[in-house]
């Protein structure tokens, strides 16, 4: 998994970085609520200097999907 992404997610979700993996999702991360979901989107956009479309944003349901979308953007 992208290390920078893991760092961002661990900061946003107040979670130990070791606990962030491709399987992470709102089901496995306690803090992944609606507010932190917003934080996550902003942090990813800012951190990778990209804009996510409205549609892409709706697909960010777990870490695997986030990675996939970032890969599509060449990250």
């Amino acid at each position: 998994m992208n290390e920078k992404l893991r760092k961002i997610l661990s900061n946003v979700f107040e979670t130990d970085i070791d606990k962030i993996n491709e399987e992470s999702s709102p089901d496995t991360i306690e803090k992944w609520d609606s507010v932190h979901h917003l934080y996550m989107i902003m942090a990813i956009e800012e951190g990778f200097n990209i804009r996510l479309t409205d549609e892409e944003t709706m697909q960010l349901v777990n870490c695997r999907m986030i990675e996939l979308i970032l890969k599509e953007k060449g990250i």
Binding site: N11, Y39, I41, M42, A43, D54
Partner: protein, 592 residues
Amino acid sequence: MSYFGNLQFHEILASLRKPDASNGAKLKVGILRNITVDTFVPLLKYLLINEGFVPEVYTSGFDLIIQETMDPNSGLYKSGVDIIINFIHCPTLVPELYTDFGAFISKTPDEIKAAVLGYYEDVISNIRKHSSARIMLTNLEMVANPTLGIYESQNTSGQNSVIESINHELVKLIKKHDNIYVIDLPHVITKIGGEAIYDKKQWYMAKSPYSVAGYKLIALECLKLVRSLYGKTKKCLVVDCDNTLWGGIIGEDGLNGIQIGHSHPGNIFYDFQQQILNLYNRGIILAINSKNNYDDVMEVLNKHPDMLLREKHFAAIYANWNNKTDNMKAIAEELNIGMDSMVFIDDSEFECNLMKEILPAVTVIELPKDKALFPTTLAEDTSFESVYFSDEDKKRGELYRNNAVRKKAKSGFTDISSYYKSLEMEVDIYPVDDFSLARVAQLSQRTNQFNVTTKRYTEDEIKGMINAGKNSVSCLKVSDKYGDIGMVGAAIIEYKKDEASIDTLLMSCRIIGRGIEEVFLKAILNKAYANGFRKITSTYIKTNKNQVVEDFFEKNNFAIIENESGNKYYKLEINKPLEMDNSNFKQLKITL
């Protein structure tokens, strides 16, 4: 956005989770809103913590501004609140001004105005029934794409015209109350740009209209208000000279070689000086802290035709070869301003880092590598932001030009003695101590006019003299009704076998001509007398700056032994303590 230390949003979130080690003042902030402000809250907290506060933030329920302000038991008032920030999102509150053009044209501008201002008035009066907290209110942002587009720009009754006039009326409204302040969104948007402030996706997803960058800037506006309201506005700007006030190095490039004026690149420095002059005109005290020959700097200030800033604008000019941190301490002492009220601006990374390291209370602005950004860097700095601007502020620069003010007073008196008395001078003459040692050295370094021998000493050299036990070092401190003038004189007497010799006698030119010179001289002579010396010797060593003391010893009854190409050697016999006339002083304290 250096206020966020170049941290990204996720890093700011992480930094807030570190255990709170600050023992700063608690600041309870209540946020009322008709939008989602979750992005704003951590940004505001970050800024407040950096400013030394321990923030406690309460956020109202969504779109419950009226309900929570009316209910005395609401969460807003429950724990006592110091500041209430109102996010009144007007595109939501008054869609007729922003999105619903049909509604806009079905009403008159006055009807819309009355409704919006009535809402603000309700919020304010609701809060004031239950709380005297400081209130901050967002005003109305403009419409980026008014329905009538370019047609609107040709008329005075369009959406943006109405918005502007409501904002204008809003300022009048808050002036009717105490402690209410506007968070000016059009101003913020002018800075960051109408496209950068919004995040349309977050708006549609979560009713959060602004981008991270936008919320950062709004948080910064709140911080400026908090700083000002809690007395944290800085008072004094201390500037470097070479490659800061002007381009180039005066010591190397000379008066004609430095860059300042109307053509490039001098015009950058001209604009930079304009920014500094603007600060001066709003009451910020200016000082110079430069590694330079004093005379070189003064030549630029007084003789360069294109300088905007002149000697008269600076309350203190420290151009010497001392450590800049020592100069900073001296400036703080001389102007009687705390380090935490001072801002230092310099192009040198080394000097800036040293200042941060040695004097962490000083705010340091390091100028960017790109000189074209110098003026904006200072203009955007928030250190001097204040919600006040008084007549006193307008005059402060003048007040700090002590000499000018006191000279003015002098002209009203027919005899010098009553002028002296009117100054209510307090003179303190005392032996050097740890606190004054550096200042004595500094005075010896930079005093050129009233300086009989112009011997330059370092702090260590003076310390060495004291330790050798063959000298007495005396200090002179003066204050008057205009304020504390500080330690402005020093003398060193060397005790020889059967005579005491005046090695150094100097005074700052700011206090020459007030009758203090004679008193200081007599005080150190009496000290020598008390130590058993009856024979005093002294020297005048001529420089091209110290004509003012050419005849000082003659006037005080010394006899010339020798006159060698302008250098004069004197002696004086004393057989009883010299009498001092203290009638001109409010207080004369001698503890030698």
